[in-house]
């Protein structure tokens, strides 16, 4: 018969309607799946009781892809068809990746999505990630005994729209219903039940196999806000192993130092040595038939000290970005297998001057938090359980005249959210408008990231400024964006679901955030300069079109020349100065000398309206 789990009081489901939900930690090195059963969140193991699924996929012709531990041996024998660390590529453009030193063969293609050449054809990162998710889904369905209702998948806090969309696409491809994406540090905080507290600032220190992330979160009224993220996308436990290997090689006689078999042998032992040193004060490394050396804990700690320093520098920077001091941090959560190294815990505890949360297995804590969230979202908890909210990492806005960005949704706004703002046309008779969607904190388009563009056409030809175009930004619970634009007089509308151009690295996001802080003042100056330039262009354009119509009739040659001089002066200043004030003065000057002309035009147009009509016709 079917095997049952204990439900919360009153939450029993009908047969075949179990609301099975899982949390998935899709990691760079390892992935996990977890679920809440009988009220307890636990990671799900395979037949051999392994919970970690190495994020490695091997492709062979005419065979289903091999995922996880089964694929790992092929890394040595068939490296071209064995893909690891695909998360580093997910949601990125080819141009971003080529900057990194990657060893995959990318297939040439027309679109901007990079494809990796394998025995199964050219595969995108989304497809490869889907194979990993698919393996986890199968494991979960076998373990839970039925089909899944949905999943919560975790992503790094710094993942941008493109990377989140790619993660969601991969899940869809794997046949998973994504309840939502959840930031990894937030998931870790949930696993420790920190979301039950009223408020507080939480630091999440995540040192994995190949990546290091530090996140500063603030919990306020049940909402986790990402105050700052930082880290190093090329720092992790693998570097600890490398440090050991490097040290061991130096103990070898020079003749052996470049012997490949010996070197491989040493690097295999390095990882084991690191793991054993969490339990014992020294280990023996067998470097060759004749030579065995002892690696003491003290030496090991010395070897990794420079790496630990790097993590603390990132912590300090993240604190500064978050505008927090060590003593403001209420809780510190440790995530990632490398935080098992006792020295790592020591330095982090010392840095934050706090006891650390290390009770939950640091490899599993993110998946467990995701599972708890998935359980709530599937509706297995009584109604009073609060739903966790998240925030967007970077501001979103549109381009306005002069290459400026008008922010519509600011960063750290809780999602889901919808915001609208009205815009208008810039030129007389303008019948179309291009909506350019941007992400970033800076004031100029060139400093932000372009997400999408679309055109709103069929606007009624009106004078500049008369059209009313409402632009609406809508972000769903996963942080994905829909933009629509509507002309309110006519109802003409257009919209776009942001199909991101896949290309912004995590370091680029950090750089964007930092740049916005460093350049805040300069940006404001530049913004007001641009605004005045746009205004100058508008004034000149309006004047020119008026002069062309009736300048000759309404103005004497002398008057015309005064106005033209002021107009030319404005154009010269607009081109040459970098001071907004100068342009503003020139505009004022031009407005002053043309005041009389504007008045005459008004009279003229009133007269032309009235001419030839009877008084009573005008009275209503």
């Amino acid at each position: 018969m079917a095997l049952l789990q204990i439900s919360e009081p009153g939450m029993s489901t009908a047969p075949h309607q179990h609301k099975l939900a899982v949390g998935i930690d899709l990691g760079t090195t390892n992935s996990l799946v977890a679920s809440v059963r009988s009220g307890v969140a636990e990671t799900l193991a395979d037949e051999q009781a392994r919970t970690l699924l190495p994020s490695v996929v091997h492709y062979a012709p005419d065979q289903a892809p091999l995922v996880g531990a089964d694929a790992v041996p092929y890394q040595a024998t068939d490296p071209d068809n064995t893909i690891s660390s695909i998360k580093r590529v997910l949601g990125r453009a080819l141009t971003d990746i080529q900057a990194q030193d990657h060893w995959y063969q990318f297939a040439p293609n027309n679109d901007s999505v990079p494809r990796i050449k394998t025995a199964k054809g050219a595969l995108s990162a989304v497809e490869i990630s889907a194979d990993i998710l698919s393996a986890l889904k199968t494991r979960a369905e076998q373990t839970l005994g039925d089909q899944l209702t949905g999943a919560v998948i975790t992503v790094p806090a710094y993942f941008d729209d493109a990377q989140r969309q790619a993660t969601k696409d991969a899940a869809k491809l794997a046949g998973l219903n994504v309840f939502r994406l959840l930031n990894e540090p937030t998931a870790a905080a949930i696993a420790y039940g920190l979301d039950q507290a009223a408020e507080g600032v939480i630091a999440v220190f995540d040192l994995g196999g190949g990546t290091f992330d530090i996140s500063i979160l603030r919990l306020r009224k049940g909402v986790f806000e990402v105050l700052a993220t930082g880290g190093d996308s090329a720092l992790g436990g693998d570097d600890f192993d490398a440090a050991i290997s490097h040290w061991a090689v130096q103990q070898l006689p020079p003749a052996l130092q470049s012997d490949r078999a010996t070197l491989r042998q040493i690097s295999l032992q390095a990882r084991q040595a690191k793991e054993q040193l969490t339990q014992q004060p020294a280990v023996d490394l067998k470097l060759s038939q004749e030579l065995t050396v002892e690696l003491t804990l003290a030496t090991f700690e010395q070897l990794i000290e420079p790496l630990l320093k790097k993590t603390l520098i990132a912590c300090r920077r993240a604190l500064r970005d978050a505008d927090m001091r060590q003593q403001d941090i209420a809780e510190v959560v440790m995530v990632g297998g490398s935080t098992r190294v006792p020295r790592v815990r020591e330095v982090v505890a010392e840095f934050f001057q706090k006891p650390l949360h290390t009770e939950i297995d640091p490899d599993r804590v993110v998946a467990i938090g995701a599972a708890i969230q998935a359980d709530v979202l599937a509706g297995n908890k009584p109604g009073d359980e609060m739903l966790l909210l998240d925030v967007i990492p970077l501001s979103l806005g549109i381009e306005t005249m002069g290459g400026l960005v008008e922010k519509i949704i600011h960063r750290n706004t809780t999602i889901p959210v919808a915001r609208a703002q009205e815009f208008t046309t810039y030129k007389d008779g303008q019948t179309a408008m291009r909506v350019h969607v941007l992400q970033g904190e800076r004031e100029l388009v060139s400093d932000c990231r372009s997400l999408a563009t679309f055109d709103l056409t069929g606007l009624p030809p009106l004078v500049a400024g008369a059209a009313r175009i409402k632009v609406t930004f809508q972000i769903d619970a996963d942080g994905l964006l829909n933009v629509s634009a509507e002309e309110l007089n006519t109802g003409v509308s257009a919209k776009i679901e942001v199909q991101p151009s896949y290309g912004l690295s995590d370091s680029a996001i950090e750089a964007m955030l930092q740049a916005s802080m460093q350049h805040a003042e300069q940006d404001m100056l530049q913004r007001s300069l641009r605004e005045e330039q746009v205004e100058a262009d508008r004034v000149v354009e309006a004047l020119d079109s008026a002069l062309a119509k009736d300048g000759q009739q309404l103005l004497s040659a002398a008057e015309l020349s005064v106005i033209t001089q002021a107009r030319d002066a404005l154009i010269t200043i607009r081109q040459s100065t970098d001071q907004a004030q100068h342009i503003q003065d020139a505009i004022k000057q031009l407005e002053q000398v043309s005041e009389e002309y504007v008045a005459r035009r008004m009279n003229q147009s009133v007269r032309s309206m009235v001419q030839g009509r009877k008084l009573e016709e005008l009275q209503d």
Binding site: M1, L3, S12, A14, L44, A45, Q142
Partner: protein
């Protein structure tokens, strides 16, 4: 009238209750639903209601509403593993027939 638990079922229930941090025991029941007419339910119990029958065994309180007890009398609650899947199982002598999936039954 009696309900019993196997040692492994009692172990699990104690463990789950401890991790949950609250609750007086586990409530077993029968729902009229499913392809064979009735289905078992198992829930955490935060309280014992008036009229509930309580069977205490191996340090675990099993709480049952009298209406359900009619169908469950003599049942042994077990905890079993089948492949990767694991969970609770009702060994009910009153059961005459089950649907193929085993999630619902008739008496």
């Amino acid at each position: 009238m009696s309900i019993s638990l196997t040692e492994s079922a009692a172990d699990r229930v104690r463990n789950f209750l401890a991790q949950r941090g609250k609750g007086v025991g586990v409530r077993l029941g029968v729902k009229t639903t499913g392809c064979s007419g009735m289905a078992y339910t198992i829930e955490f119990a935060d309280q014992v209601d008036d009229g509930d029958e309580v069977f205490e065994q191996r340090g675990v309180k099993v709480i049952i509403n009298p209406k359900s007890l009619v169908y469950l009398d003599g049942t042994e609650l077990d905890f079993a593993k089948e492949g990767l899947n694991e969970g609770f199982k009702f060994n009910n002598p009153n059961e005459k027939d089950r649907c193929g999936c085993g999630e619902s039954f008739t008496v």
